[in-house]
């Protein structure tokens, strides 16, 4: 028997590959997803090169100013530690369901002549490989940028000692991020009631992913926080990357950072201890993850799902409820929806936090512009992302029931159901979230702004869903149909145009009620026409259950037919 055939190696390989398994993708979709990842990698490399260029300029200038260097490098190193932490935590959170041996592992593997010890050891090894892969990958990727920050490091120590201190702190920070996710899941598995385990696990994953998306803008702000680090700002004790930046300083002999260093060490030890205890406890009580009872719903009775009166559009009603139940109960779709909304929120959070709220808002154009720009930005991100979330399928084989019951009027109702969900979550929700801030700064005039915002949001949804002919979650899905960098350039141009134009329209609506009424009528009328066209197209063309790649080759047709 070769090493590759040994059961522990085979099992570790199985668990490792399972961590990358996106079960919702078809073979074609998985291929497209790989292309999407490659596109993402290309973007990451481009971003890294841009970062290098920025750091090269910055540290070239700082080489002759030791005091400035010492102040700036702390914040930059905190940033360079935060990026791998974010990536590693995100990867571990996405693989959350597979962090511990689960019921499927039990049913399949315990029937084989394999010991429980072997199953746990293989799972742990796969997990370490998985985490290690992301830790190594992100650190290798950031190595050139980190090297640039060592220019001029002689002001705080030798380049070698600074490099060693940075690497040790950064690796520890990534280990902390990985073990923190494992610890959270471990505590949950041990403490949650067994019949609630699946639901809790899903909620935790959603909250962690949502939180990570939300803090991304704050991570990107770290390089500009040198003054906060120098002044020992209060928020440093709440920001894990700052702890490890403090640890690096302490390793280089800065005693002022000893509290942050202590916090970093204690937090890492605590998360490792909790993760290990969770594994050991689970090893002894494997029944915790097996024979989980089915998720009990809060539905009081079957009759609560129907109304006594028949709805005017029963198919739309049925599909709307199907979407709502799926988002509530499918961990994958819940994660997608929360991720989308958190992403949209995260994009504007940074700007809202930086705004000067103490000035007289009524006369501060910058603040008003920010509050008009915010919901538009959230909509611009959330509408296409929510459309994508509704496209990710759930058990494709079960969609036969929709194919069997399809009828002409039902097609239009089904298309409308998807559009309504996007309108509710990607348009109405951002408007409702920002409305109190707008009200407090603009007063009653903000009502006109919100009506125009709703009309613009409706038009955006109808434009992006003009060809929507799917029952949400029932059509096969091919992600990344276009070339990612090209799509990003297009999206950026569209974003600038959309937020710029709509911001001006909203500003005009704020100043003149007549403009607001006129714009609402124009935009709402256009949206209504698009809605009518969408319904007609859905009725004529039927529902879509198989996603298709766009034709890659567009013939020029330079010949005569």
């Amino acid at each position: 028997m070769t090493v590759r055939d040994r059961p522990e190696v085979v099992l570790t390989h199985h668990f490792f590959t399972a961590l990358f398994d996106f079960g919702f993708l078809s073979d074609e979709g998985a291929e497209a997803f790989k292309r999407l990842l490659l596109g993402g990698l290309a973007l990451a490399i481009a971003g890294g090169l841009l970062l290098m260029r920025l750091f090269m300029n910055k540290y070239g200038l700082l080489a002759g100013a030791p005091e400035d260097y010492a102040r700036e490098v702390v914040a930059d190193h905190a940033f360079l530690m935060a990026l791998p932490m974010w990536v590693v935590a995100g990867a571990m959170a996405l693989a959350g369901q597979s962090l511990f041996p689960n019921e499927v592992d039990f049913r399949i593997l315990m029937a084989e002549p394999l010991s429980r010890r072997l199953i746990f050891a293989a799972k742990l090894a796969a997990l370490l490989l998985f985490g290690g892969l992301f830790i190594a990958g992100t650190h290798l990727g950031l190595l050139p940028v980190a090297a640039l920050t060592l220019i001029g490091s002689t002001s705080i120590g030798s380049a070698a000692s600074t490099a060693m201190a940075f690497l040790a702190s950064s690796l520890l920070a990534s280990f902390f991020a990985a073990f923190a996710i494992v610890a959270i899941h471990g505590v949950l598995v041990l403490l949650a009631a067994r019949h609630r385990l699946l639901a809790f696990s899903g909620v935790v994953r959603v909250v962690v992913i949502g939180g990570l998306v939300l803090v991304l803008p704050l991570v990107l702000r770290l390089p500009a926080s040198a003054d906060a680090f120098a002044a020992g700002a209060w928020w440093l004790v709440l920001a894990p990357p700052a702890w490890f930046a403090g640890l690096e300083r302490w390793l280089l002999g800065d005693t002022a950072s000893s509290m942050l260093a202590l916090q970093a060490t204690a937090a890492t030890l605590a998360t490792v201890a909790i993760a290990v205890i969770a594994y050991v406890r689970l090893y002894r009580r494997f029944d915790r993850v097996t024979f989980q009872s089915a998720v009990r719903t809060t539905t009081p009775d079957w009759a609560s799902s129907t109304n006594r009166r028949s709805p005017a559009a029963p198919v739309r009603h049925a599909v709307g409820r199907f979407v709502s139940l799926t988002i509530r109960r499918s961990v994958l779709h819940q994660g997608l929806v929360v991720g989308v909304l958190a992403g949209a929120g995260g994009l504007v959070l940074d700007s809202l936090l930086r705004a000067n709220w103490r000035v007289d808002a009524a006369v501060d154009t910058e603040l008003i512009w920010l509050l008009l720009w915010t919901p538009m930005t959230m909509m611009f991100v959330a509408v296409p992302a929510m459309r994508m979330a509704l496209s990710v399928p759930l058990d494709l084989r079960a969609n036969w029931i929709f194919r069997m019951t399809e009828d002409v009027e039902g097609r239009a109702e089904i298309a409308a159901a998807g559009v309504r969900v996007v309108l509710a979550l990607a348009v109405a929700l951002p408007i409702a979230l920002i409305a109190p801030l707008q009200w407090s700064t603009m007063g009653v005039a903000s009502l006109a702004v919100q009506i125009v915002e709703a009309a613009i949001g409706w038009l955006l949804v109808e434009s992006l869903m003009a060809n929507w002919r799917r029952v949400p979650f029932t059509c096969s899905y091919i992600p990344g149909k276009g070339f990612v960098p090209q799509m990003c350039v297009k999206a950026f141009a569209a974003y600038v145009t959309f937020t710029g134009a709509t911001g001006l329209a909203l500003l005009a609506s704020l100043r003149s009620l007549a403009v607001a009424i006129g714009l609402t009528a124009l935009v709402g009328g256009t949206a209504a026409i698009l809605r009518w066209r969408r319904a007609r197209r859905a009725r004529e063309m039927g529902l879509l259950f198989e996603d298709e790649m766009p034709a890659d080759v567009y013939p020029l047709r330079l010949y005569a037919d």
Partner: protein, 254 residues
């Protein structure tokens, strides 16, 4: 009446079904038999309208599937081979979804769903999502969903798979009564005993063609040869003893 005329289905170069024709009359239960890969599931998918034939046509109660697929499918209740349903829903939620998609009034759903759940012994599990339902429980939910709109044609693909003895007996009795009430029942199976007990006619499929079509009563009248023996002969099944011997030799050897 269900009429299938010259049904042919090609998947690329593969001929799955080759000019299959049959009829199904009200009150009849037809058993559809055939070895794996003979084209049974393809026929079922064509009959319920999930696939379109390459050549041939289907009509149900005078409605041609090609002319008006929606009206055609409205008359059909279908229980698929695998109990594929949206398991994150409860049984009641799934039946409500199906009822609404079929545009049944709320009053009808209110009257039918709890009774079906109770009679099919799913009432105690009505608050649970179907993720942890056994295959038999899911099969019962699908039977309820297929009957909810009172269809004229019931198409069942291995309906007894996963059902316990009691549920199997209930379904058998129910199918008999539905047929007596004038409904058409087309069911695909591997179980000869069920065909013999339940069906009025049997169609045997082999390599995409009809190898045998006969009334079940004729087997008793014409002689001692059992349905199983007839099936083996009609589908030209090999002698399995040498195959079993070879498997035994393989696992016994090094």
């Amino acid at each position: 009446m269900l009429q299938a005329r010259g049904l042919t289905k090609r998947y690329g170069g593969l001929l799955a079904l080759d000019h299959v024709s049959f009829e199904l009359h009200p009150g009849e239960i037809v058993g559809y038999l055939g070895p794996n890969g003979s084209g049974k599931s393809t026929t079922v998918n064509l009959v319920v309208g999930l696939l379109e034939p390459t050549v041939g046509c289907l009509s149900l109660l005078g409605v041609r599937a090609a002319d008006d697929p929606i009206a055609y499918k409205r008359q059909i209740g279908y229980v698929p081979e695998e109990p594929t349903l949206y398991a994150h829903l409860t049984a009641g939620e799934y039946l409500t979804l199906v009822g609404r998609l079929r545009r049944l009034p709320s009053r009808t759903l209110d009257a039918r769903i709890p009774v079906l759940l109770r009679l099919l012994q799913l009432h105690d599990s009505r608050h649970k999502s179907m993720t942890m339902f056994s295959k038999g429980m899911r099969q019962r939910v699908l039977v309820a969903a297929a009957l909810l709109h009172n269809p004229r044609l019931l198409v069942l693909d291995e309906p007894f798979s996963g059902l316990d003895v009691n549920a199997g007996a209930l379904l058998r009795t129910l199918l008999r009564m539905l047929a007596d009430d004038g409904r058409m029942i087309f069911f695909s199976t591997h179980r000869f005993d069920m065909v013999e007990k339940l069906c009025s006619r049997v169609i045997v499929l082999s390599s995409g063609r009809i190898a045998l079509e006969r009334r079940v009563a004729d087997f008793e009248r014409d002689g001692p040869e059992s349905l199983e023996a007839t099936f083996v002969r009609a589908t030209q099944q090999p002698d399995f003893a040498p195959v079993a011997r070879e498997i035994l030799d393989t696992i016994s050897g090094g």
